[in-house]
Subunit: 223 residues, 2 copies
DNA sequence: CGGTAGTGTTCGCTCATTCTAACATAAGAA
DNA sequence: TTCTTATGTTAGAATGAGCGAACACTACCG
């Protein structure tokens, strides 16, 4: 427990990464963060210690990190910014889907609350960003949906493409190239074994996509 | 002469400040920069030396600093960003005039070229920002206008309010409160001596404003 | 239980930014 | 011209952010 004001690009990115990796209550390993953030392990340990003493994470030597409530609040705020900015870029400034993540990754650390709420209002307080991720509300609430990876849908089952879960512009582009747009109606026809490709009908057209990509195409299933 | 990539908020703000203070060829004193940037003198000297060795300014011990061509290019680019952002905030996001400077001061360091050109296009490639400052074009050209401070206009003379030359939100608010909006048609009626107030007709209504504020209200004069 | 492979931390450095205190120079007054 | 004051620079230190090399734990295998 400390006071330190502590805020910066590095800190915000760190907290966001912890939030994203920390499913449930699991502690996040420093080396995992090292990979995700593209920083060396010593840098991550160092940041973990600084944020621990700032009260934003609970860090325990050799057993990783979890967000405190204060840390979680900041993470959600940054994620809200990120996703609203992405949507704004697509809707108001003509960005392509694959262009927005990089830009938002920087802008999220520079815009004021005033700015965020102005674009939120202009966009009509949206709840989903252009990749299909939920946008946290100003008070930190997230829309919950139970989504299944396309890679796990049995042949015969289907639904709507609800999320393209990647921030890699190349993969995103690939998904669209292969004919899997957000909101598309999809029905699985078949899947090869050994992590083979999935064949599916998307909006009535037959499409094929590899296993690892299909893992990142999330479906809101219908009976 | 060096290579260093060197780019950052501090550097960009420094170059912008030098640009603004450097009328003609005059060297800018480190202490002047110290005031404007709200940094101590040693910090400024230090930055001057680092930018000298990066080839962005010409710094001479005890005689201040001038931009090199490379430095000027960066300064103009940052100013373009700043002013386009200000205009965008007013036109598209409903900001008040006095709110935009602070926001732009941060955003100018975070937005990409892609972003700047997107908003420039959306705004119709404007040449004047919401304070009346000229917006440098992408290739660094500035609209030139010969403007006179209201404080120097003889009684009987007049013109159009072309620029409110302050970044202080309070002063800006004050100018508008006193009835001196951009584009207003103004005619000087009288002025008290000893740096006294100026009386003027603005859009037909009689107004009064103090000397120091009148110095910052720039007029495009008519015969 | 003991040993090793893999994980995670410390140590010691570097750079950018900023500050305070101490020192140096330049410019104008006498 | 010499002295004083105002202006400007160095010295020394701190903080945040990162890195590579060396060291320390854990966990799992036999
Ligand atoms: Mn994103
Ligand atoms: Mn970011
Ligand atoms: Mn401004
Ligand atoms: Mn700035």
């Amino acid at each position: 427990m400390s006071d330190h004001p502590l805020q910066s690009k590095s800190v915000e990115n760190f907290l966001k990464a912890v939030y994203a990796l920390q499913e449930g209550d699991d502690r996040v390993a420093t080396n995992t963060l090292s990979d995700v953030l593209n920083k060396t392990a010593p840098s991550v340990t160092d940041m973990a210690q600084r944020l621990e003493s700032a009260g934003l994470v609970d860090y325990q030597k050799y057993r990783g990190v979890v967000l405190t409530e204060a840390g979680r609040e900041i993470a959600l705020k940054v994620i809200r910014r990120h996703r609203l900015i992405e949507l704004y870029l697509v809707r108001e400034l003509g960005y392509q889907l694959h262009e927005v993540h990089g830009e938002a990754e920087d802008l999220e650390h520079a815009v004021s609350d005033r700015f965020v709420e102005a674009i939120a209002k202009k966009l009509g307080d949206p709840v989903i960003d252009p990749h299909g991720d939920p946008i946290p509300s100003a008070d930190g609430t997230l829309l919950y949906r139970h989504l299944m990876p396309l890679s796990e849908l049995e042949p015969g089952r289907g639904g709507v493409i609800a999320q393209l879960k990647t921030s890699d512009p190349e993969m995103l582009q690939h998904m669209l190239d292969r004919g899997f747009p957000l909101q598309g109606r999809v029905e699985v026809i078949a899947r090869d074994p050994f992590q083979g490709p999935t064949m599916a009908l998307v909006n009535g057209i037959q499409r094929v996509v590899g296993y690892h990509v299909a893992e990142c195409i999330l479906i809101e299933t219908s009976p």
